[in-house]
């Protein structure tokens, strides 16, 4: 019942916002949105407390037959893979509501879309049926497309179309893979429980897995399928970027583990080295390109590409530890990225620029944005993997877990995480330190409403960095179980 509430409450919110009598203040709409998202967030926290850590299987299941003819069922459930992401979804939506600033154009549509996105992502994460997952996966595109196209920056038209084309292709490839999986394996429905790919021929499995990899690879995104990302991230408003990078991209890695690794455990070993290679390239590419950027938002967008690469390497390695690290990295990357984009959003709104050459001395305690700068430094440290912050935990687990399987790839990733520090030092040194420009520095103040989300995120980043068991305890049973079914294969690879 709780899962359904999480899924449907935001949709009720959409209806209320849609039919709220005119004239209505932006604030009222925002408060309604906040209320609904807050309730779903509380429900996800409730789930976290009720989650049985002893069971590795899917919990809180809800099942209704819907269209049995095509095998589509209303089937919900969560496990250690999806539950942390559902919490993250609620949290980041709440943050995103307060990341766009005071004024919103067309508030009714804006907040309705926000709720839709929240509900859609929850749906995709909770779905226990391939087709049901895909419905949500595809449904997400429309609100995101509109968010970029309406509230985006200068080149929003270009960016939004590019986003739509890329992700639509991603959806088609995943659909093709799902249909193939179900039909070729002769399953009774699209329910996860019914599907067994053991009987398929190796070639079929390889082709299906490749389809999935490309499909989700676009979403993650992996180099060379990433070109939509910098444009979308940069052109979208900070709120949209937080949702895009913080949670939507995670659907890609989530899909990779859930459908790639879980459904094709034996084929996975064939593609694993290739995946590790792509992952490493992604990591290096993201970091090196980020160093060359002049636009801070673009820099963080590329940094995001790089950090998603770690997850891929970890998935490819597929050890208990690396998989745990992969899921932990999804959460920590979501938190850190959201904080970075939120702060960059504040900086852009206050100073009117994102240009590294123009920004300077924001640390100035009186006329600068001292708190924002301080938190930006914290977020940069977290992203660069400084111990004591959540980024370190997940990256460390990934490196430790992947090293046995792919030592060289892991070492390259470790070097690349050093490069993270390089571009963050560049970013922080230019924006936060130095001398504030007298002629420009009449920036408006940062409002409390803008500060609170940053505080919440920063607190979580620090807390989970010091007490990582609150991050890993929900994930561990599921990933352990997942790997248990793979172990012999891993050993094989390791022995080779």
């Amino acid at each position: 019942m709780t899962l359904s509430l999480i899924l449907w409450l935001p949709l009720i919110g959409v209806l209320i916002i849609g039919f709220f009598p005119n004239p209505v203040k932006t604030n009222t709409l925002r408060n309604i949105t906040t209320l609904f998202i807050f309730i779903t967030l509380c429900l996800s926290i409730y789930l976290l407390t009720q989650f049985n850590l002893g069971i590795s299987k899917i919990q809180f299941t809800e099942y209704l037959t819907w269209i049995p003819q095509i095998g589509l069922n209303y089937s919900l459930g969560v496990d250690g893979l999806s539950l942390p992401l559902i919490f993250l979804n609620g949290l980041l939506t709440l943050i995103a509501i307060y990341s766009i600033g005071e004024k919103v154009e067309r508030p009714r549509l804006y907040y309705a879309l926000m709720l839709l996105i929240n509900s859609g992502i929850s749906g995709a994460l909770m779905a226990d049926n391939l087709l049901f997952f895909l419905i949500f996966y595809e449904l997400e595109l429309i609100p995101f497309y509109l968010m970029i196209a309406i509230w985006g920056g200068e080149k929003k038209g270009y960016a939004s179309i590019k986003f739509l084309l890329y992700t639509a292709v991603s959806g088609l490839l995943v659909l093709a893979a799902f249909l193939g999986i179900t039909w070729f394996s002769g399953s009774a429905s699209f329910d996860y429980a019914d599907i067994n790919t053991m009987a398929l021929s190796a070639n079929t499995k390889f082709i299906l897995l490749t389809l999935l990899l490309i499909g989700f690879g676009i979403k993650i995104p992996l180099v060379p399928l990433h070109t939509w990302l910098p444009d979308s991230y940069v052109e979208a408003s900070p709120a949209t970027t937080i949702l895009l990078g913080g949670i939507l991209a995670k659907l890609g890695t989530y899909g990779l583990i859930r459908f790639g690794l879980q459904l094709f455990p034996d084929t996975w070993k064939l593609v694993a080295p290739g995946l590790a290679l792509i992952g490493t390239i992604t990591v290096l590419y993201g970091a090196l390109v980020a160093i060359a950027q002049r636009d801070i938002k673009r820099m963080i967008a590329y940094s995001s590409i790089g950090h998603m690469g770690y997850i891929l390497v970890a998935c490819a390695a597929a050890t208990e530890l690396s998989l745990l690290g992969a899921v932990a990295q999804m959460v920590s990357h979501g938190l850190i990225l959201a904080l970075l984009f939120h702060l960059v959003g504040i900086i852009e709104r206050k100073t009117g620029t994102r240009d590294l050459d123009q920004l300077n001395g924001l640390m100035n305690p009186i006329r600068g944005l001292p708190l924002t700068s301080a938190l930006l430094i914290g977020a940069g440290m977290a992203s660069a993997g400084i111990p004591g912050l959540v980024g370190f935990i997940s990256e460390f687990i990934i490196f430790q877990g992947s090293f046995i399987i792919f030592p060289i790839a892991t070492l390259i990733c470790i070097i690349a995480s050093g490069l993270t520090a390089v571009y963050f030092v560049i970013l922080l040194n230019r924006t936060c330190f130095g001398k504030l420009n007298n002629k420009l520095a009449y920036y408006p103040q940062v409002l409390l409403l803008e500060k609170i989300p940053a505080f919440v995120l920063a607190t979580l980043i620090l807390f989970l960095g010091i007490q990582p068991q609150y991050l890993t305890r929900w994930i561990e049973p599921t990933t352990d179980h997942l790997i248990a079914t793979l172990t012999p294969i891993n050993v094989e690879i390791a022995q080779k």
């Binding site: 001395g361 100035n364 009186i366 006329r367 001398k435 504030l436 007298n438 009449y442």
Partner: protein
């Protein structure tokens, strides 16, 4: 303006407008009611801490003297709070301010209560809820350090004379009488204590200088409150007259050891307020001073600090007020001191601009910069009066000399860091 311009052709200087304004008897600061309100308000806020500065500077120069552990040098004894200002009150030599000769009531009140609670002096000191004497000492050190290089007046060269050394020697020996350790140290390193005494002479110098400025600013505030000043040049002219009236005030350094007065620099040396204190002060503090550490750091090897002392331009006329606000920078300490004594109209004014209360320190810093441009204008006009010709002189040759003088003064603000251009704009806050 037209009067001068009809007799000689207009200036081609970069700051021609400002030069023409000076020639018309104006100030470098544009004449607007807003500017007048700002500068007078800040003079008031500056005068109250200055009332403390001059008293404490004299206290240190005269009483603390060579105390090797001067922990309590900022704890002004009642005697010095009651010290009669020579230019205020009924006992004044020349009454500049109509008010009292003792410390200003607002200052007394602040010393007792601070911004926190009524409590012991030690608490207020440690909590930094006090007047920041560090600023005054920084000014003193600027004068001391630049003194030799500037070569203005006769004060600094006197510090090297045998007469001075002898006077200092007598005082040092008297101060450390019965203290063989310190006397031994003095024997070993005679220059060390002598150098300290020279610095103390500058304490006295600056203290005596500010003793005059303090009542001048009080009086200006009172006149303004009565509706007395019409415009900025009125305020400037008041300063010009003040400078002339007090010009001959003696600058000296007396030390009191065991109730006995030792004249290290006697009044009979003929050192005057204008030549030995005011002009060196303006040059050392308004123009030169020294780079402040803080949010900025300087690399001397990379020539970020000028090679010659005369090229130092870090004074308030050039200061970048934005880094102000970082702890420990002397101008910040002054801003903080002035914050306690802002008149209500200035508080309201800051509330309405920029970030209101949050960046008051910078706003008042920039107001202070404006007000010091006005003081510098007064000095320039006073020098012009003293050394050159009246603005309405009939002789074009004389007017040309005035023009050259003004242009030479304005040349000093051609440097990129000078704020003369900025203060012409009311939006610079």
């Amino acid at each position: 303006m037209t009067q001068t311009l009809t007799k000689i052709s207009p200036s081609n200087h970069e700051f021609a407008d400002i030069i023409h304004r000076l020639e018309a008897g104006g100030s470098m600061l544009p004449d607007t009611p807003e500017n007048l309100m700002q500068i007078i308000g800040i003079y008031k806020a500056y005068a109250v801490p200055m009332d403390f500065y001059w008293r404490d500077l004299l206290y240190i120069a005269e009483k603390v003297f060579l105390n090797p552990l001067p922990f309590f040098k900022y704890f002004l004894p009642q005697e010095y709070l009651d010290l009669k200002n020579h230019y205020a009150g009924d006992t004044a030599d020349l009454r500049v301010w109509r008010g009292c000769a003792e410390a200003h009531p607002e200052l007394i009140n602040f010393i007792e209560k601070g911004e926190t609670i009524k409590g012991s002096k030690l608490f207020h000191h440690l909590w930094h809820d006090r007047i920041n004497m560090e600023f005054a000492e920084a000014c003193m050190r600027a004068m001391y350090w630049h003194g030799r290089d500037m070569g203005m007046g006769k004060f600094d060269s006197y510090l090297d004379s045998d007469e001075y050394k002898h006077n200092a020697d007598v005082a040092i020996k008297a101060y450390f009488k019965g203290n063989p350790a310190m006397l031994g140290l003095y024997k070993l390193f005679p220059e060390m204590f002598l150098e300290q005494v020279r610095q103390l002479s500058y304490y006295s110098n600056l203290g005596l200088f500010w003793e005059v400025m303090c009542p001048v600013f009080y009086e200006m505030s009172d006149i303004y409150d009565e509706g007395g000043f019409k415009d900025v040049s009125d305020a400037m002219n008041f300063l010009v007259n003040g400078i002339f009236a007090i010009a001959g005030r003696p600058i000296y350094h007396h030390v009191y050891i065991d109730g006995k007065c030792y004249e290290i620099i006697s009044k009979s040396k003929g050192f005057t307020w204008l030549y030995e204190a005011a002009l060196p002060y303006v040059e050392a503090v308004f123009y030169r001073t020294s780079p402040f550490r803080g949010t900025k750091s300087y690399n001397a090897q990379a020539k970020q600090v000028p090679e010659h002392q005369k090229d130092f331009h870090y004074g308030i006329l050039y200061a970048d007020v934005f880094p102000v606000g970082s702890a420990g920078i002397p101008p910040t300490l002054l801003m903080d001191d002035m914050l306690h004594f802002l008149p209500d109209y200035l508080k309201e004014y800051y509330q309405k601009n920029c970030r209101g209360e949050d960046d008051q320190l910078i706003q008042l810093g920039i107001t202070f910069q404006r007000s010091m441009y006005n003081v510098t204008s007064a000095v320039i006009q006073a020098l012009r009066t003293a050394l050159l010709y009246p603005l309405d002189d009939e002789n074009p040759k004389h007017l040309m000399k005035n023009r050259q003088f003004f242009e030479a003064q304005m040349d000093r603000f051609k440097r990129p860091e000078a704020r003369l251009k900025d203060i012409q704009n009311p939006d610079y806050r």
